[in-house]
Symmetry: C2
Subunit: 220 residues, 2 copies
DNA sequence: CACATATTCAATAATTATGTTGAATAATTG
DNA sequence: CAATTATTCAACATAATTATTGAATATGTG
């Protein structure tokens, strides 16, 4: 094999994988699957796609070996093939946030409209946990909480927060988190809690970012 | 703005960036630019593309803010916009090597045909440097060496290695490196050196991987 | 075994990406 | 200022990607 042929083949393989990632719907699916396993129907609902379209995009991801499947009865569950898939998504996300002012602006504008609360990073949360009294609040749907969550976190899904707010201690600072930096459940939680007199902030990143850093987690 | 609109816009922005990466030629350009600044002509020669085609792909990368340009006389030099671009390329590369058996096989077969020498990683090289006597050999073109190289490395471009081999010490183990894991200059160097009785191995990764890890480098 | 349900497939039309060719710019040189 | 050089642009043909529709599979249930 000549050097050029070798290079062409290598870069073509890598471009294939990259093409599989290079679609808004598929990136959204990947972020969703970073939370746990999901059926096609669930994915299509969460991402506002038709079932056939979701299935088609999942096939693309499967062909590129970015996701794996398990069958359970009539349902087929998809999951990320491995940690490197999330790492690559994270790298793309960070590249995007740094490069594209419009993303930062979108995020800021959207959050601002929901709440003026500031946020804190995973790094500063781990430092704070050593000294202060902090309640960590997971506002994702319950099944995502059960697939894995930050150690000692309390689960109150965002749509039940208004009713169950009283379960939370008024004295502690509350740090709400959800799926990732573009997930707005945590923003909504901070808005609700602040209005009710709690001291609340959101975690900038999401659960998968916490987990991939090797920080302590719990399952169930 | 509604939640769906917000999400759609965010994921579309990120997909735009990913699409800019999702092409074999553009990935090759990015790996080349990780070595230093280059003119369009140089890039087109190195990657076996027509000038117009290289220019077109560079425009795509520029629009996505993945590369920057400087004009110097009639030449226009391109460079990576920032470290995150290389980090993302690295993540994609690692995802690819792990996921796609065919890439690993391609690399192994190609190297095997050049030399049977084994290789070592950046991690093991840094450990070895503390104890053993090692000569680090940079076999990239001279201008890439001058744009930045591993501290104390010796520069002998691959096409001059046969003539200048005598400059190297026979006692030390020689570790040759080049642009990255898919670059074959280092393999060719190991083959030449081993034949001539030197003890030589290649570094698996390339100079940009060394630099991005914050390990000591020199310029000029 | 008929029926229901979850998912995939196939066909289509619209959009977007790609490489080639030759012309157009923009800076430098004589 | 004409000629030269490096790069970009515009136009075209071809190929790939996408969403939608409805039919086809494959598993589970009565």
């Amino acid at each position: 094999m000549h050097k050029r042929e070798f290079k062409t083949r290598i870069y073509n393989e890598l471009a294939q994988i990259t093409k599989a990632l290079a679609n808004a719907h598929r990136l959204e699916i990947i972020e969703l699957l970073a939370q746990g396993d999901y059926s096609v129907e669930h994915i299509s609902l969460q991402t506002d796609m038709s079932i056939a379209n979701a299935s088609q995009h999942l096939q693309v991801l499967k062909t590129a070996q970015l996701v794996d499947v398990t069958r359970n009865g009539t349902f087929i569950y998809y999951r990320l093939a491995n940690a490197n898939v999330f790492k690559t998504w994270k790298a793309l996300r960070e590249l995007g946030v740094e490069r594209i002012a419009s993303i930062e602006k979108l995020v800021k504008d959207f959050r601002h409209s929901k709440s003026k609360a500031d946020s804190l990073t995973i790094d500063s949360l781990t430092k704070k946990l050593k000294t202060g009294k902090i309640t960590i609040l997971d506002v994702r749907p319950e099944n995502e909480f059960h697939s894995g969550h930050i150690v000692n976190a309390v689960s109150i899904p965002i749509d039940k927060l208004r009713d169950r707010m009283k379960e939370l201690p008024k004295r502690n600072e509350i740090v709400a988190y959800c799926r990732g930096p573009f997930c707005v459940y945590a923003d909504e939680a901070v808005a609700l809690l602040s209005k009710a007199g709690f001291k609340a902030r959101r975690l900038e990143e999401g659960y998968p970012d916490w987990a991939i850093n090797g920080l302590p987690i719990e399952v169930n």
